[in-house]
């Protein structure tokens, strides 16, 4: 009806204009153990110093993570697919421009930690 040139083509119409591998400079390889969506990202001194030289999407992450931000928050704030955010954060971490504080796998089974969270929530008003 609108005469869109792609109408009726085999390509699904809801695909983002910017594909993930474009955003990540061709790298679609996630780290061996993908960074958890709640992992905390903090820009390093090196990242602050290098910010101006970074390509735009990396620069946005470095600017956002001056204060600690979770991977999922990076994705939400910069409107990135969470998989893309992960790849970009992994690249920044590899280059030492951010530090990623990943959750401790043992914590979920540590009664002392769970008890602390219980006390913290009980204190909410």
């Amino acid at each position: 009806m609108t005469g869109h040139p792609d109408a009726g083509s085999a390509e699904p119409s809801d695909v983002s204009l910017v594909r993930p591998y474009v955003m990540t400079s061709g790298s679609s390889q996630e780290p061996r153990s993908p960074i958890e969506i709640e992992a905390q990202v903090l820009t390093s001194e090196l990242g602050l110093a290098a910010a101006e030289q970074l390509r735009f999407e990396l620069r946005d992450i470095v600017a956002l993570c001056r204060c600690t931000v979770a991977v999922a928050e990076v994705a939400a704030a910069l409107r990135l697919h969470i998989g893309v955010a992960r790849v970009l954060i992994a690249e920044l971490a590899d280059r030492g421009l951010v530090t990623v504080h990943r959750p401790d796998g043992e914590l979920g089974t540590d009664p002392g930690t769970i008890e602390r969270i219980i006390r913290g929530l009980e204190a909410l008003r």
Binding site: E38, Q40, T68, P111, G120
Partner: protein, 197 residues
């Protein structure tokens, strides 16, 4: 002067993240529950779920594996100086199954929200959490503050083990959501006390 900035940055150690997953059918109040207690407005990001669609789309020509982009809602609560609790609402499109190892990896436990008028919507979440052995609590959301079925009837209909806590929650009310999360945490804590088989 030159030592100052590094000392400053060292002083604010990032918190240790922990998470609870909130599951249940579409429109059952997951985002409402996250919003009721989160210290930030619930945020949304896009995520992918990969699923095997063979059962549902048997008649179609879809490939066996399908990746679907879904919205992932989340919020957070600062527990203390060191711990930050994240709440992730699972995407509502349950027909695509629950291949969300990512989302659930390392979670302390799960809260399954139920609309007692649409009990079946929570089955995929219950099945999934049972299968992977994640501690969970089922909470019937009191739409309009009323319960349309007796809790015992709900338990019977869901056919969940009598050990699984079944509670009510008002997803709009902060303290009610807090109490539901506390039920999940106590369940998780009790699980850690059990002797390993």
């Amino acid at each position: 002067m030159d030592s100052k900035h590094s000392a400053d940055r060292g002083a604010r150690r990032p918190p240790i993240p922990v998470k609870i997953v909130i599951g249940g059918g579409f429109g059952v109040g997951k985002t409402t529950a996250v919003g009721a207690i989160s210290e930030i407005s619930p945020l949304t990001t896009e995520a992918s779920i990969t699923s095997v669609a063979a059962e549902i789309d048997r008649t179609s020509e879809m490939p066996e594996k399908t990746t679907t982009t879904v919205a992932l809602d989340f919020g957070c609560i600062t527990v203390d100086d060191e711990l930050k609790l994240y709440l992730f609402g699972t995407p509502g499109q349950d027909r695509f199954g629950f291949m969300w190892q990512d989302l659930v990896q390392g979670a302390l436990g799960a809260l399954v929200l139920v609309d007692s008028r649409r009990l079946g919507d929570c089955y995929p979440a219950v099945d999934y959490f049972e299968r992977i052995g994640l501690p969970f609590v089922i909470a019937v959301n009191l739409f309009d503050g009323r319960l349309s079925h007796d809790l015992d009837d709900v338990r019977w209909a869901l056919a969940v083990h009598e050990d699984v806590p079944l509670i009510t929650v008002d997803a709009r009310a902060r303290m009610s959501v807090r109490d539901a999360l506390l039920a999940v945490l106590r369940r998780a804590r009790d699980r850690t006390m059990l002797p390993r088989i």
